[in-house]
Assembly symmetry: C2
Homo-oligomer: 348 residues x 2
DNA sequence: CTTGCGACCGTTACCGCTAACATAGTGCAT
DNA sequence: ATGCACTATGTTAGCGGTAACGGTCGCAAG
């Protein structure tokens, strides 16, 4: 039986057969040429490429993936894009995925476990060759799906918990402790916390836990705390700072759950003529680039975002690290954030 | 012929057949249940759903898409994620796509036409049901691919040019002109421009063109200009502002190509004790949320980002707008940005 | 003159799912 | 009883590629 394609419709989307007919070889040979696989003579290779180019053929990866059982996609699931934190992780991921033939596909959950589950389901239904997702907390169904998927799963950002497969991140509890210790060492004793209210921002919660833990060990209670949700973080930082300083005048240190509200607080203090870091000290978390432009350098901790992205991508792609190490799965990689004192914690 | 699946391997990825065997109906019926299509009795529906749930079945969209020739993906191609502008457009897109069954898939070009072409090729090879991409400037090959693809194509952000299919955006030339007129009306006459150097940021270029055009018509030349690339925008804004004000002391207005460097400039001026807006006026572009937290409100123009995302998604999804209008393709929708004078242009 | 082998290219049988059509049962008016 | 409309389910034939294997041809070695 000879199959032919109707020449009539010029806008039909092209298939391998079109290229094969145009170049006088079999579909298989065209496929081989376009994938650079198997032996094809230089002459036919060029003939095929020429035909494909002229026709404007774009391969159908759907068919290809179904036939080969291989998909060059990696699902990346993150809580938010408006955070500046996650785009940076993404950079790390796509950067190292670039020369592996793998491609990241991003899904956003808005910090909702249910949305995460839905996004994950959708992604797995495209049979990606790996999944990278933020955090260690997921719905039961999501965990089951991941465990069943039979692909590398890397949970990033956080390592305080038990991963499904691999994990790359920092210990937020330890980060909170470290910051508390630095603050105590600088002599501050009336400390307040300002942060997000999001019930599902587990990492911010863990930082606060570590922070309070270290304070408690030194016998220093948290003097005040203030939470927010939504809105412009910079503005919220201003407002919350004003509120706390009015409500608790004796407060001498403000620990923010992220740099953005910390920056807002810093701007407020400078505006209000408050002596930073002597009257009040400030610290944030993340080490965002934005801070470089501020009048004073906010104390913060770098969360190793780029490096987390890189390592996670390496695991999914099965790449050796720069040190020659190969992570096969089931490993936990802890990165160590660096404390940057900046200009908003007084030197001892 | 009776097909059976080997029960041996418990980690084999599941197919419709597994669910069909587990629930005692044909694959087709399972397919119908899972897609909510066609008539299925309540009894079998529940039996099937139960079996699917218990097995942890995740459909294979690759096979489904190939068979049905329908893919619920929309390709979205943008220059950058670290700009805050594009995530907001994305929000608009995903928000309106949410209840259409369509799903956005994001690709990033880093302002490189070649990367855009590569990303587009990759995307089209997944046969999405629509493409949304930033700007009207693309490589020839990219334009050809889009024209051949036979799907809705929406070019966003900019309308100063000729679109392939549909376009939603603002006129950046006009935006530049409007800002120039407002600045002139406020009495400023020694105006400088500070912006990105990226050769492929066509929209910034067009704004500058419109800006200079309006100045020229009033017989006012641009006194100075300064370009940057890379680095922290806020910091660059500070540095560039300092450089310009030193080099051209008579400058009385600084027009920035985006709000981020504008904010840096504003912080510099406040630090340096420069009287804003009397000694020097400032204006940016975009209306980013960040600005709300600044000590003074920077003059800017809202670029209608959310609305652009929404409209673009509506076109791709074939949804009626809130006014009942239905865009079929080939239309250009111009949105009108709103000038916000803020506190950095003196009132007349 | 075979034989063997590698380079090159074609044939066949799927991949997992769905469109389209076919079939069996059921109730109801004729 | 007969036919018909309608519901609920099954059967068949692909979708557009690719893995695996088969064939052909030219040429050097036996």
């Amino acid at each position: 039986m000879i199959k032919t394609t109707p020449k009539s419709d010029p806008q039909r989307t092209l298939t391998l057969r079109d290229v094969s007919e145009a170049s006088g070889v079999s579909e298989m040979t065209v496929s081989r040429v376009l994938r650079n696989r198997g032996d094809v003579s230089e002459a036919t290779r060029e003939r095929v490429l020429e035909a494909a180019r002229k026709l404007g053929y774009v391969p159908n990866k759907i068919a290809g993936a179904l036939a080969s059982q291989r998909v060059n996609l990696v699902g990346v699931i993150i809580p938010s894009l408006s955070n500046m934190v996650f785009p940076e992780v993404l950079s790390g991921i796509s950067e190292t995925l670039e020369d592996t033939g793998l491609q990241p596909v991003v899904g956003v959950t808005n910090y909702s476990p249910e949305r995460e589950e839905a996004v994950l389901y959708e992604m797995l239904s495209w049979r990606p060759s790996g999944v990278i997702l933020a955090g260690l907390e997921h719905t039961e169904a999501a965990q089951a799906m991941l465990a069943r998927a039979g692909i590398p799963v890397v949970e990033i950002m956080d390592i305080d918990g038990s991963p499904i497969d691999s994990a790359v991140g920092i210990s937020h509890r330890r980060a909170g402790r470290q910051m508390a210790e630095a603050i105590l060492a600088a002599g501050y004793r009336n400390i307040a916390f300002l942060g997000t209210m999001m019930p599902y921002d587990h990492r911010a919660r863990k930082r606060l836990e570590g922070f309070e833990d270290a304070l408690a060990r030194a016998g220093v209670p948290l003097v005040d705390r203030e939470f927010y949700s939504g809105g412009s973080a910079l503005l919220k930082g201003r407002e919350m700072t004003e509120a706390v300083l009015h409500r608790s005048p004796k407060v001498d240190f403000l620990y923010y759950s992220n740099d953005m509200i910390g920056a807002g607080g810093l701007l407020y203090c400078l505006d209000a003529g408050i002596d930073v870091p002597n009257r009040v000290g400030l610290a944030g978390f993340n080490g965002v680039e934005l801070l470089d432009g501020l009048p004073r350098r906010l104390a913060t901790m770098d969360a190793c975002r780029l490096e987390i992205g890189r390592k996670a991508a390496q695991i999914v792609a099965g790449i050796r690290g720069s040190d020659g190490s190969l992570t096969l799965g089931g490993e936990v990689i802890e990165l160590l954030p660096v404390l940057q004192l900046g200009d908003t914690i007084r030197k001892i």
